[in-house]
């Protein structure tokens, strides 16, 4: 790359730029395209291109229930809907789905579902562990409705089938992206509480199937022996007496450290066949 000046000294009005950003990020003043949605049966005209969540807000609703992360991670905004003239019953996350003309919407504020309680230190993964805590899984009729309902597009039915077989690892892995919205559970004719079972499976897997970290174990021993106390004392003193030196040390560690880390990791992990 040619020697290019990386920072041109641009004459700018920073405050004006900030105002422009603010304007760009606020909802546009003029709306070009509209759609009509039906919120629990009532029609509202809203701008096209909004999420269901933002559209309801535009229409004047202020969420108390039904909005959590607003980003597809928490499952608070589980929504069911039908489109005008369609027989199909659909599910969605209100924060992650664009409104369409003629949507009949209802948001599910709460899903009643029982969670089995257990002591993670005492329960042992066995082939029957899921049937013991969630016996209703035996009633699964393999209709695949849960899978169709899942807004994360997980293979919900398969993980229930794996649970019936007692395959902890498979349940854990297939269900990993579950945001616990409860839509599968609401739709299931066999009244299975998929997401609670899946949570149980993942904890069993994390605790009993994944090996404990040998590095961590060693480090904890060192910590217990107080190996780092002296170093911390030194830095504390240095910070009080010679702040400039601390900055130097930091710069040294961060540049040298990065290089060293690259080499160390390459060598050790190659040697151990990891990462």
């Amino acid at each position: 790359m040619a020697e290019k000046k990386k920072v041109e000294l641009l004459e700018v009005d920073s405050a004006r730029i900030m105002n422009e950003i603010k304007k760009a990020a606020s909802p546009p003043e003029e709306v070009e395209h509209w759609v009509t949605i039906y919120v629990m049966g009532k029609p509202y005209k809203v701008p096209a291109g909004l999420t269901i969540m933002k559209a309801l807000e535009y229409a004047g609703y202020r969420y108390i229930r039904g909005a959590g992360c607003r980003a597809g991670f928490c499952g608070a905004c589980a929504t069911i809907y039908r489109k005008k003239g369609e027989y199909r019953f659909r599910t969605a996350l209100a924060c992650q789905t664009t409104v369409e003309d003629g949507m009949y919407l209802a948001q599910i504020p709460f899903v009643p579902a029982n969670k089995a309680t257990y002591d993670i230190d005492k329960v042992k993964p066995s082939p029957n562990v899921f049937l013991e805590y969630y016996p209703e899984i035996a009633r699964c009729i393999s209709c695949n409705t849960c899978t169709k309902a899942c807004p994360q597009e997980l293979d919900v039915m398969y993980y229930i089938q794996a649970a019936i077989r007692g395959d902890v690892e498979r349940v854990a892995k297939l269900s990993f992206d579950c945001i616990q919205c409860g839509l599968c559970t609401l739709r299931c004719p066999a009244e299975i509480q998929h997401y609670h079972l899946a949570q149980f499976a993942r904890r069993l897997y994390g605790k009993y199937y994944l090996k404990k970290s040998p590095f961590l174990k060693e480090r904890l021993k060192e910590l217990e022996k107080g190996v780092f106390e002296k170093g911390f004392e030194m830095i504390k003193k240095m910070r009080e007496e010679n702040p400039e030196k601390v900055k130097e040390l930091y710069r040294y560690l961060i540049t040298k450290g990065r290089e060293k880390e690259k080499k160390t990791v390459e060598n050790t992990l190659k040697f151990r066949g990891g990462d």
């Binding site: 000294l9 405050a15 229930r65 928490c74 994390g206 830095i235 930091y250 066949g273 990891g274 990462d275």
Partner: protein, 566 residues
């Protein structure tokens, strides 16, 4: 504007720019190693920061006129709520009628609050003597949303001391020693605790954690669980709290702390947002875990934060006399989504860049080293968009630059995105964009509250006079001091675990060793109101605000309240 023709998720005119990005891709991949040449010197960094960082650009901050931090400079939006009229009128409340009389009140059902409840319970406080009160559902919190990972120095060639130095440098050397020491040492206890609880971290066949780079670290020490790290930890600890029967009160935020005649904290007033009734909670110890401030939309920026991130904890504790720190520095994440409109502001994890995607402008040109510190990276993006105009404008007027995600597949092989960035892939897919084939448009977004309520290593909150409150603790994003002026990636999940745990243990100690708090009062609210009277605050400005208001302007203009059905 006529009907936009959409092609695979993008309007036709944006496709023109995407073509330019595709044209330069091969050459950029060949020169990937050379990107480091674009890294700015210290002086150049200062130059872009001073002109383009929202924290430095004039007009965004002001001096606090009342309260323990009078004279400190904070963002306007924060000053607005700290100097506002208390939303609750103390005369409406009967403090002698106690609804919940508990050992420990935990305010905030995110990560820190859940961890605190669990550790108080481990320390012998029976579940039924704990109350976890939260604003939304248990787990509707920033903690659920973290993607990247959590830091801990467990590898033999790493150490808590090196971790400490990274935190310190990242925080511009303003961090409190005892807190950083606690953070980096306890990190190891936390990882062990998580192993025992069954958190599904990414591990190798020997059981060691797979660890990655995070911005501003000198070691690879970012532990993750795919790109759902925060969700995985949060749902496990929530499950454990449910197993242990910790009582949780949802949709019942705290709206004011209760003080005592002898200057202590003795609980809080909760407000049921659905029935609008209030509850008086008396507690031997109170833990504040209300998280951050993203939904204040500082400087009008979009945010990555959850719906309830409105800094209520700062407001309540400030009125009760707590000292705040480092609130002048706001963390903007360089890569928030800028398109499509539906997801503007949502986080595009740093991992997209660490895995090889380069930021490029409208013409497909590289203009920045992809792994500058967050504040520098964000400033350079803003410069490219607003001073040089080398940006892409979206149909709604947002400006952004491209993050060339298809590079990841080319550099790391097909399938790398689905394997490591499934949450990201899924989010774009929902709006018709395939990030394995097309770049994604990004712009900085409001991300994190670096400072907060000052605490000590026992997680005790510090009063204005520098003394700790014996019965009042805080953990997580609401507290300040540990990250100094700037938090590094992976240290706030750690923060909520470390100080949530310490707060829980300290609170349990108090609950075991002391009786009920002294006579309850809301005198501090009245005193604070007197201060507000002096500074000319509009009557409508009340706090805590609890939730942002996104209702359409047209509706609000026609909204009337009839004195029935109130």
């Amino acid at each position: 504007m006529a009907e936009l023709k959409m092609i695979r998720g993008y309007p036709e005119y944006m496709r023109e720019s995407i073509e330019l990005v595709e044209k330069t891709r091969e050459e950029r991949i060949r020169n990937k190693e050379k990107e480091i040449e674009l890294e700015l010197s210290m002086k150049e960094r200062e130059e872009v920061l001073s002109k383009f960082h929202p924290d430095y650009a004039p007009g965004g901050k002001r001096e606090l006129r009342i309260g323990p931090n009078k004279g400190d400079i904070v963002p306007n939006e924060v000053a607005d709520i700290l100097e506002a009229w208390p939303a609750l009128n103390p005369d409406d409340v009967d403090l002698s009628d106690i609804d919940y009389d508990v050992d420990i009140l935990v305010i905030g059902g995110g990560g820190a609050g859940t961890v605190a409840s669990l550790w108080a319970n481990y320390e012998g406080i029976p579940a039924e003597n704990i109350l976890l009160a939260t604003k939304l559902r248990h787990g509707d919190a920033n903690s659920m949303m973290a993607q990247g990972g959590i830091q801990a120095a467990d590898r033999p060639w790493d150490s808590p001391i090196i971790h400490y130095m990274d935190v310190l440098g990242g925080g511009h050397f303003a961090n409190k020693h005892e807190l950083v020491k606690a953070l980096t040492e306890d990190a190891l206890l936390i990882m062990k605790w998580h192993e025992e609880l069954g958190v599904m971290y990414d591990k190798d066949e020997n059981g060691n954690f797979i660890e990655r780079w995070g911005g501003g670290t000198s070691r690879m020490r970012l532990h993750s669980a795919k790109d759902y790290t925060g969700m995985e930890i949060m749902r496990v600890i929530r499950d454990e709290a449910r197993n242990r029967g910790i009582p949780v009160l949802e949709f019942s935020p705290a709206v004011e702390l209760i003080t005592t005649e002898d200057g202590e904290i003795g609980g809080a007033i909760l407000w049921n947002m659905e029935t609008k009734e209030y509850y008086v909670v008396r507690a031997k110890a109170t833990v504040l875990a209300t998280g951050g401030w993203g939904r204040l939309h500082i400087r009008g920026f979009p945010t990555t934060n959850h719906y309830g991130a409105t800094a209520d904890g700062l407001v309540m504790s400030y009125r009760a006399g707590a000292r705040l720190r480092d609130l002048d520095s706001v963390q903007y994440h360089p890569t928030g989504a800028a398109y499509p409109e539906q997801i503007v502001g949502l986080l595009i994890t740093e991992k997209v860049r660490t895995m090889g995607a380069t930021p490029v402008n409208k013409y497909g040109e590289t203009f920045v080293f992809p792994l500058e510190p967050r504040d520098v990276e964000a400033s350079v993006f803003i410069r490219e968009c607003y001073a040089r105009n080398n940006c892409v404008k979206t149909p709604t007027g947002m400006r952004g630059i491209w993050l060339d995600s298809p590079m990841i597949e080319e550099l790391r092989g097909e399938g790398a995105i689905r394997k490591n960035l499934d949450a990201m892939y899924r989010m774009y897919k929902r709006f018709g964009i395939d990030m394995t084939k097309d770049p994604i448009l990004v712009f900085p977004t409001l991300h994190y509250q670096n400072g907060g309520v000052e605490i000590n290593a026992n997680a005790q909150v510090i009063k204005a006079n520098g003394e700790p409150y014996p019965r009042f603790f805080a953990g997580g994003e609401v507290e300040g001091g540990v990250h100094g002026k700037n938090r590094l990636m992976g240290n706030s999940l750690l923060d909520y675990n470390v100080f949530g745990r310490r707060a829980g243990i300290s609170a349990a100690k108090v609950a075991r060793n002391s009786g009920k708090p002294g006579k309850l009062t809301l005198k501090h609210v009245k005193l604070f109101t007197k201060e507000v009277e002096k500074i000319n605050v509009p009557m409508w400005r009340k706090s805590p605000i609890l939730l942002p208001d996104y209702r359409g302007k047209r509706v609000l203009a026609r909204k009337i309240d009839l004195p029935v059905l109130e």
